[in-house]
Symmetry: C2
């Protein structure tokens, strides 16, 4: 692996000293922790008796994860700084990206990163989403600019597989799964971002069951690149005469190039008119596409007319897990980079008991200082807590999709729906906060381009925006999920959390933390009792005004639950002298849980105070005071 | 003024629409608010009877501020994006910066931006620091990459004026005040950042009272540029044989070029060996300097040997006010940019009383949505609260430095010392949080380079690092200031806050908020009663472990106090129908105070819980769990 060093030359007396700081940590993820979460916390092996997964066992899945790590070490991680320094760009209608995009797509395609979760009969490996999530977590941690190219291609293929005709599947999917063709999701238009009801891209029925497509889409990730023979766009558009709003939206396959009967490709009148240069994730191109400028853009309807948004939304849970996953992974890479710096950098001294420092002592490593440890523990708590959370969501997804009964399917679908806004949002928001603390650990160097922290700080910032902003997710959580089936979803989720509380009560070391989480559950009921009357009397503006604060509040409880579950397993392992991992491994999990409960979970007290305050200062009155 | 537009072309039907978004707001500061804080809240006019300021009146000071705004509009604001896009750079030992650096220094020098606070007899204008802070706030808000060049020159000149001999003053200061020569502060070395006791740069006495200087300094802002005939470095170094630690540090004037007897300049063996490329503030060069590579670098001692750090620290309060000021100013520019976007961008609809949206309605402007209003109010609360805070600090500085009695001088010095860590830290940390929310208001556009928010997000991030990191400031607050003179400083400050609480109690509209702040004061006493025993029994590690959390806690109380003071004045103005500003101006201040009390101040509840928790999870035990 390439190791990057930053060299500082200093002169002391007549001696010239060279100080080398590693600019990038060698480590961007702890594979032991990832496997621990998969197997020990979320019991992946229990899934493997499902018919769909019956060919897999721990050994084969470990091999898949290890080869992913190997691929990430060689092909992704060494290029992350370079991809930031040489952004993807648009020139003369073409998009140019880093050469590793080709490697990601083609070698990655060969290794199954695009096809892995799909059925055998279309070339997939039928691996659980849990395993796919873990593998992609590794890729994201290694280099968050690359996995999106494969991920969007997979998402586009999935829409075709699930909802389009077999003919269309055969035309498009095989080249997508191999990485030869790319894929995108085209939702956003300039007047239609958070509000998809405004979509104006037009589809007019034409011959052979095709539609003529015209319109523009913005913010299209992976919209084109010089290595892709073709890009298959999945486009939301409105069939001429369809009703206004989201009910009139249909989904179309609109490839950049059309297949001719002889197997060759010819242009389908899709042009990249511009790109968006961004603060971060610069290697992951973001494009502005125009369809049908020459009135020669054909689209193929997926499924039925006017069902576009429904189809898209059936894929949305996986997409939101993916954003949470990538955010947690970026925070992971940032954690190990700042941890390494803290372990190498001497600065300051321990305070003696008169509050002074003894300058005869040599300097301490900064990892000795409580304030630095606080920042590192915060990162570890966010990284591993959110890693557990995204794997839990993937587990619910797998359990839903391989359910043995309707009840089971509804149960896990409900649990997934309940946590999904948190799965998207907590890793994004807390992840950014975590990276921010990682940057601070490095002091002035954290702000310098030679060190990687500032890049992670910029890269992760998009997460709270795409796939539905934090504001939108918060409205979904409080407005839809909490009220879903008259609160039955919430009850189901709370029951799961209570099971963990009960288990933790059996461990004297964890009793306080179990009590604490239990109190938070009661606090959440209290908060909802105050909020709910607004919804019941139809004042939804007031009900949802503080939805983002509720998101923060609810997220901490959900992640606290994950941490308690981790602590139970670690305490149990210590008690029974389980040697799968070292004692210090288990102890570090328990200490990090304590950090979360002592420093993060208490924030719920203030959040609940804000939520229960009758103030309506954020609701617009007659006069505009925002001046 | 140059107005930047971002053009989006969309096609609806056959029509091509051009949507223009202003990329930059025309407004980066509200001058009315700045003057309101100066004159109405912090009573600048009461200062003008001091002998030092007797030549100034409101009219002349307003003229100074208005001409500053005019200069900033013309020479600073139009170049902010360009300075980010074309960073300062180092090549062949030279540093190249944007041409506006020359304008800032030379035209700015003519306009008095460097000399204004100094005595008449050395070419100054004897303006109060309050006014200087307000003027520089305008410059920082317009373009935070530029005022530092002048500010550091001023700081270096100030050290010479206060502590060096008259001869040295005459040699160096006039060219600095005119902007012909630049100035820097050289503290940091690669092994000596937060811990200045490690400074190793060496000074050996040589002929004519000079010293031979050798060593290297890093992170030197404004270290060189192609427009400066000379740069006057104020360098901390250790005279050969001086004691270890901070007591053996002396301060030297080390110019890049020496004056020859004929008035010409020749090299003083100071070389720029590299620069630091950074995530933000890219137009403000950061250099790595080497002194005495050819053993021909002369330094002139400032004052006495071994007093270097004392001299430097006497300037530190002004430097820390400057960081707070610049941070608040960047947050101000970000606020107006996101406010403008929110006032122009239609997206989404108001919820009807069945919780749905009516798609027959046209879309709302996003400023109508409570969640967007929350983000804007947060910004306004942070920007104006921190603006008041930095002006308060400048006022204490002025009152200290023009005190009519020793008691008065001690009083205001004490008040300044008490709040100074907060003045540096709150605008930096809350400012970054505020800009983060500003970016979020723009959704996807916030992340795009065409819009300015992402730049402010990057620029402001340095503030929590330089002039003492947040960690260092927090140790200063809890470790030194709170315990200063057995808590007498704290008592004095609390008495000032109680005066505001009392005043607010006279207004029925404000009584609840007065009560709330009063409760926070009691809460702070409770927190300190829990913490103090650790210090008293000599366990400073435990006492200071959560100093950063205490900083957040204490900052909110201090800024809450500022907001209550603002609300009192605004309520009073409404009551007596004061027409200096519009009713909506005053109302907007009161509503923003309410936001601060309803959404920010409650965070103190959680922070106090964390501070009073006996947990010592951040203190290192025998085994390292940070893995």
């Amino acid at each position: 692996m390439v190791t990057h060093y930053f060299c500082l030359t200093i002169i002391i007396g007549k001696l010239r000293h060279q100080i080398l700081y590693k600019i990038m940590s060698d480590k961007y993820i702890d594979i032991d922790t990832l496997k621990y979460m998969l197997y020990d916390i979320h019991k992946l092996e229990n899934l493997l008796d499902r018919e769909r997964f019956v060919d897999h066992d721990k050994e084969s899945l470990d091999m898949f994860l290890d080869s992913t790590k190997d691929f990430a070490d060689r092909e992704l991680f060494p290029f992350i700084k370079e991809m930031d320094e040489r952004p993807a760009y648009h020139k003369d209608g073409k998009v140019f990206v880093h050469r590793q995009v080709e490697t990601m797509m083609k070698k990655g395609g060969e290794l199954g990163f695009i096809s892995a979760p799909f059925d055998y009969d279309i070339g997939g490996m039928q691996i659980p989403l849990m395993v796919h999530t873990a593998a992609t977590y590794i890729l994201d941690a290694a280099n968050n600019h690359l996995p999106g190219y494969a991920g969007l291609t997979q998402g586009a293929a999935e829409l075709i597989i699930h909802f389009a005709s077999k003919d269309l599947l055969e035309i498009f999917v095989p080249n997508m799964l191999s990485g030869k063709w790319g894929g995108t999701m085209c939702l956003t238009e300039s007047q239609s971002g958070s509000s998809l009801s405004e979509i104006a891209t037009k589809a007019i029925p034409s011959q052979n069951g095709c539609y003529k497509i015209s319109g523009q889409k913005i913010f299209i990730s992976g919209g084109d690149n010089q290595y892709a023979e073709n890009i298959v766009h999945l486009v939301l558009a409105r069939v001429e005469g369809a009703s206004k709003g989201t009910k009139g939206i249909s989904l179309f396959i609109v490839p950049k190039n059309r297949n001719n009967s002889d197997g060759s490709l010819s242009s389908n009148d899709v042009t990249t008119v511009a790109d968006f240069q961004k603060m971060g994730q610069k290697g992951y191109c973001t494009t502005h596409l125009s369809f049908g400028d020459k009135e020669d853009c054909q689209g193929w309807l997926v499924g039925e007319e006017n069902q576009g948004l429904n189809y898209m939304f059936l894929m949305m849970n996986a997409a939101r897990i993916a954003v949470g996953r990538a955010s947690s992974a970026i925070a992971s890479a940032a954690y190990y980079a700042s941890l390494q710096y803290a372990n190498e950098r001497p600065q300051g001294r321990k305070l003696t008991n008169n509050g002074k420092k003894n300058i005869e002592q040599s300097q301490s490593l900064i990892i000795e200082h409580p304030d630095v440890r606080r920042m590192l523990l915060l990162q570890k708590a966010v990284v591993e807590g959110s890693m557990s959370l995204v794997l839990l969501a993937a587990k619910y997804y797998d359990l839903e999709n391989t359910a043995k009964s309707k009840e089971e399917r509804i149960k896990y679908n409900t649990l997934l729906e309940m946590i999904i806004p948190v799965v998207k949002t907590y890793p994004s928001e807390a992840g950014a906060y975590s990276v921010n603390n990682g940057l601070q650990v490095l002091g002035g160097y954290g702000f310098c381009s030679d060190f990687i922290l500032q890049q992670y700080y910029r890269d992760i910032r998009i997460s709270s925006i795409y796939e539905g902003t934090t504001g939108i997710q918060s409205q979904d959580l409080l407005g839809r999920k909490i009220t879903m089936n008259n609160g039955e979803g919430l009850k189901l989720l709370l029951a799961e959390i209570l099971l963990t509380v009960k288990k933790a009560n059996d461990f004297p070391e964890l009793k306080n933390y179990a009590d604490s989480l239990n109190q938070k559950l009661m606090l959440s009921e209290k908060v909802l009792k105050i909020l709910m009357p607004h919804a019941l009397k139809g004042d939804f503006e007031k009900y949802l005004a503080d939805a983002s604060v509720f998101m923060e509040f609810f997220s901490l409880i959900i992640v606290g639950w994950n941490w308690l579950e981790i602590a139970i397993n670690s305490q149990e392992s210590l008690n029974i002298k389980n040697n799968k991992y070292s004692n210090i491994f288990y102890k570090s999990k328990i200490e990090t849980m304590k950090y979360f409960f002592d420093y993060e979970l208490p924030k719920t007290v203030s959040q609940s105070e804000i939520l229960m305050n009758p103030s309506s200062v954020t609701i617009k009155k007659e006069e505009e005071i925002l001046i």
